[in-house]
Subunit: 163 residues, 4 copies
């Protein structure tokens, strides 16, 4: 069985509703709960690197993500990430990480909402990372893309191939 | 983009609660709703072959599934199936279907329940079928197995490798 | 604040899905979880008297429910109950319990399903028991009925007034 | 059967997640869907008066709500409302509406989230309005309060009696 490293960076995936403030906010990651729900029996290690909206992600944050991917023992890595700058982080990873399979995924609707796409995407990313050759990929909408062949269409919210 | 054929056969995945009779029953498949929830943009064609508990599946039913996999135009096929005899159907498919990638998946909890593993498994199966080489596979619990290297542990409900 | 006694007897309300057996079954009651979800701050005491399908309820079971309602300290009582024989139990309570407000409620869909009416009915029953004068009532479908002016329509699953 | 008027004003109850903007927003009310889920068979008429956060509610908005309660044909009225200024609107209604039973309710978590208290509160409010004598009430947390005997505790999010 492949041992998979999961790095959590926040994004819509992990937004929750703060009922005192009446706003969306970040708390603890939902990853362990989601893996239980999926009855996942893949051996994974989860580490939260940051818990931010990807529009707020800086070059320093990206460097931290790259360094963690370089230095971790595992060669199969899933990263949960906000969708708005997922492709930017994928590019930074492609420049900095060699010999590992890295799959970025996220969600359009927070997992804490009943109607989230998060569980579907997590199943997708965890499966792809076990099969794809070394490289950096984005897994969204039931599809996967090499890091430099994808963009997020900001009007539809859908990840599309760059032709 | 890969065109994927989905064959529905029933199983826990698609069980619903009949509120008049107070029993579990089968109605229409939840696949289209699940693909919408997952914001899937993979091109798929869905066909319901049967809607039964896999403990009730006969050799005639399995022959029908095999024939549909042989005759369909697509070379990537996902089959939703009850977990109890999923491995038996995988074996029948391995004997009868060549040159195609077939991934069987299912659920331990009906999708209609809030706490289902179905969406996770569907994301997993739809991704694997796009990447794995021709052959017959079972995708459950975040893992995938070649058809002859897996069994369902009936006490834990978990799919395990045959060593 | 009124102190309310809740007696749990089972019924669809509390059915869960046994993922090993692939059947509906009874486990622990969902009442505490439902009250947390509803952010209820009413002071309640919960006791499980039985955990059965109301079609299996015997006269001995009903006598037990009546005795518990007679002997408990509280004068406001909510009973969760299967819908099929809810009206029969209400009649037994009307014969045996005086000077207390007893509200029976249940669900058409198990709470463990995402699409349950259970939380709506619980909010309804807990509110009615604080306001209605002594007597025995059925609270279903957003309405309430005196025990002898209601029946369940078995074809539609809806509780109707007896004219 | 009592005919009940429901006025929708927005609040957390009806917030949804805008997946393109990644923010909470207001769309159509969820009331009809919630009544279907609760299998409600109470005769109701729903009218959306506004769809706003109650922190943004002005005196002009409150005057509109009061006028609608005065002029509608029904004497039983439920109002869905943001929790932050629900008590202020209740006071305006108490000054302006006579001879009708008005119950305000809301939610701490949006209905669109799986973990909402909205369905519980709706069951509560719809039941209370059928039973309580004319007056203005707040129904939250499984309890009900006369309009001038309640406040929202902003630290805990719980509605409390004013002693």
């Amino acid at each position: 069985m492949t041992m998979i490293r999961i790095f959590v960076t926040g994004g819509t995936f992990d937004k929750t509703y703060d009922e005192i403030k009446g706003q969306l906010s970040f708390g603890e990651t939902h990853l362990p709960e989601m893996l239980r729900l999926g009855r996942s029996h893949v051996e994974v290690g989860i580490r939260t690197l940051m818990m931010i909206d990807s529009l707020d992600m800086t070059d320093v944050d990206r460097a931290l993500i790259v360094r963690n991917c370089q230095q971790c023992a595992e060669s199969c890595i899933v990263i949960t990430h906000g969708t708005d700058t997922m492709v930017d982080t994928a590019a930074a990873l492609a420049r900095g990480v060699a010999g590992k399979t890295v799959v970025l995924t996220g969600a359009m609707i927070p997992y804490a909402f009943g109607s989230s796409d998060g569980l579907f995407n997590l199943g997708s990313a965890l499966s792809l990372v076990q099969v794809l050759p070394p490289g950096v990929y984005v897994a969204m909408n039931g599809r996967y893309f090499e890091w430099n062949k994808v963009r997020k269409n900001r009007e539809t919210g859908v990840f599309e191939p760059i032709l």
